[in-house]
């Protein structure tokens, strides 16, 4: 999902750069304020860990393989602000050191994978945990669903950026990115949940102690991320959803109007597609399929959590560090 240089036009690059800077600024500020000094190395090491984990490929159907983003993993382990910082530094390093992801697209990549992915993921995680309770099953259920949602949301934003830059038509970008990432998201969810489950077995105190200040973000912080995520999705994705009926019509016209005003000289014109008859039903069916997919993911996440939860729940509590059951549990 790393966008290389040359794929984004000026307005998209600048807009995502602004959002990325704002998000990173908020994350730095709140980490500096809430993080005890002794955890600073943990942030750096966790981003090295996420970097390393991203190198592991897992097999997806049909001979292709995907790799982790790790946004939800970081957010569940360290809280949202630290996750934003961790993933941003992974992306910056990949850009500078390995030329993976472009310099001008760095803002867009940070928005997708370091702000939208952990933002959406953490929001969903908190929501589902609120519903499903604080036990281990609740944690796993929430993690699985959040990981899937975060991957899909990130790919949606990525498709929106490519389309609004005029490099890839929306009707190609959307299925190519989002449909594939619904599958990859399932892989991400499975791996993330298995990792969290393994951590629950090996070191529950790393996970279940909610007293860490990082894991209890303040509401202002959460609102800021929520705003940034919805702003990003609104700018990059909403202009293409203008085929939607009634309720969104007004907002969509405003947004479309705005983007047209700026875009006109730069774009080869992705918009005429929307005059094609039958698009309305196509959009509607896409939305329907999306809803069905989300429901299926929700149900699968619950089943996975049930399957992975042991009969006896593990409760939070300190455990001696060298205890034998702390070693890796054979599969």
């Amino acid at each position: 999902m790393h966008i290389p240089d040359g794929f984004l036009d000026t307005k998209t690059a600048v807009a995502s750069g602004v959002i990325a800077t704002a998000g990173l600024g908020i994350a730095l500020r709140s980490v500096r304020r809430t993080l005890p000094e002794k955890r600073i190395p943990l942030i750096g090491l966790t981003s090295a860990f996420v970097f390393a984990a991203q190198m592991l490929n897992f097999p997806v159907a049909g001979g292709t393989s995907g790799h982790l983003i790790g946004a939800v993993l970081a957010a569940v382990l360290l809280g949202p602000s630290a996750a934003v910082l961790v993933l941003s530094s992974v992306l910056i390093l990949q850009c500078l050191l390995f030329a993976d992801g472009g310099v001008t697209a760095l803002g867009a990549n940070i928005v997708n994978m370091a702000i939208i992915a952990p933002g959406v993921g953490y929001g969903v995680y908190r929501l589902v945990r609120g519903m499903a309770g604080n036990g281990q099953r609740g944690i796993l259920f929430a993690t699985a669903f959040a990981a899937w949602c975060s991957t899909v949301a990130a790919s949606l934003a990525c498709a929106g950026q490519l389309a609004s830059s005029g490099t890839v038509a929306w009707r190609v970008a959307f299925p190519a990115m989002v449909n594939i990432h619904m599958l990859i998201g399932a892989g991400e969810a499975l791996i993330t949940t298995l990792v969290i489950a393994a951590l629950c077995r090996a070191r529950p105190e790393l996970l279940l102690s909610e007293s860490q200040p990082l894991l209890k973000p303040r509401y202002g912080e959460l609102t800021a991320y929520g705003l940034l995520v919805s702003l990003g999705l609104a700018i990059f994705v909403a202009p293409f959803a203008c085929g939607w009926p009634d309720g969104l019509e007004k907002v969509a016209t405003v947004l479309r109007f705005e983007s047209r005003a700026v875009v006109k000289p730069l774009l080869p014109s992705p918009l005429p597609d929307y005059a094609v008859p039958g698009v309305n039903s196509a959009v509607l069916s896409t939305v329907l399929a999306g809803c069905l997919g989300t429901l299926a993911a929700f149900a699968l996440a619950y089943l996975l959590a049930r399957f992975l939860t042991p009969r006896v729940e593990i409760h939070p509590g300190p455990r001696p560090r060298g205890s034998p059951s702390g070693a890796s549990t054979p599969a």
Binding site: L85, L97, T329
Partner: protein, 204 residues
């Protein structure tokens, strides 16, 4: 691991290598931005950019084969996204323009990472007033990345040599266990590193 990911030529001492890292960093970013800003299909502009890059590459005395290899590794990612742009009116033109543009940018970044070591780049970032916490995080990430990847590969090798199974779910499970165990070790290492940093007089 190091051979796969790091350029072995960062330590040589050509004219380009000796430039201050801030200059190289800003130069590379300016080059990339101006290349991206060029309108589609200004072939003369692309040619000029390519000539400039090749001059720099020649001055840096990094073997061309090495640079070409790095580019070839990265090119498939660009190609796969660029292919999507074919499906639209005047797609071929957009496709070619994007392909050339992003190859130029890739070449520029490959050159930068082949002539500037990461600690130098980080000191460049620091003098550009990037927030200290971010630079510290980047430095720690770079410092421990290779160690963690090596550790992960060792753990995977150990795991593979002990479990023989063709069951898909088991493979996923063991992968997840490796990742989880890596995180446990990472967080323990972070504690030791903090103690070591304090012992050497580190302040935020």
């Amino acid at each position: 691991m190091h051979q796969r990911l790091l350029s072995p030529y960062v330590q040589s001492r050509s004219r380009i290598h000796r430039l201050p890292p801030v200059v190289k960093l800003i130069g590379a970013v300016l080059f990339v931005v101006s290349t991206v800003l060029l309108p589609h299909a200004t072939w003369v502009g692309y040619l000029l950019g390519a000539v400039a890059l090749i001059t720099v590459a020649a001055l840096s005395r990094v073997p061309p084969l090495h640079l070409a290899k790095r580019l070839l590794i990265l090119e498939p990612f660009v190609l796969s996204v660029a292919l999507l742009s074919l499906f639209q009116p005047s797609g071929l033109r957009v496709f070619l323009a994007i392909l050339v543009k992003s190859t130029l940018c890739l070449f520029c970044m490959v050159l930068l990472s082949a002539t500037t070591s990461m600690p130098d780049l980080l000191s460049g970032l620091r003098s550009l007033r990037i927030p200290r916490l971010l630079v510290t995080t980047l430095a720690l990430t770079y410092r421990y990345l290779f160690l963690l990847v090596d550790e992960m590969e060792r753990m995977q090798r150990a795991r593979r040599s002990r479990t023989f199974t063709r069951h898909r779910l088991q493979a996923w499970r063991s992968l997840a266990t490796v990742i989880a165990q890596l995180f446990v070790r990472t967080s323990e290492r972070a504690e030791r590193i903090y103690a070591a940093m304090c012992a050497r007089g580190w302040k935020t």
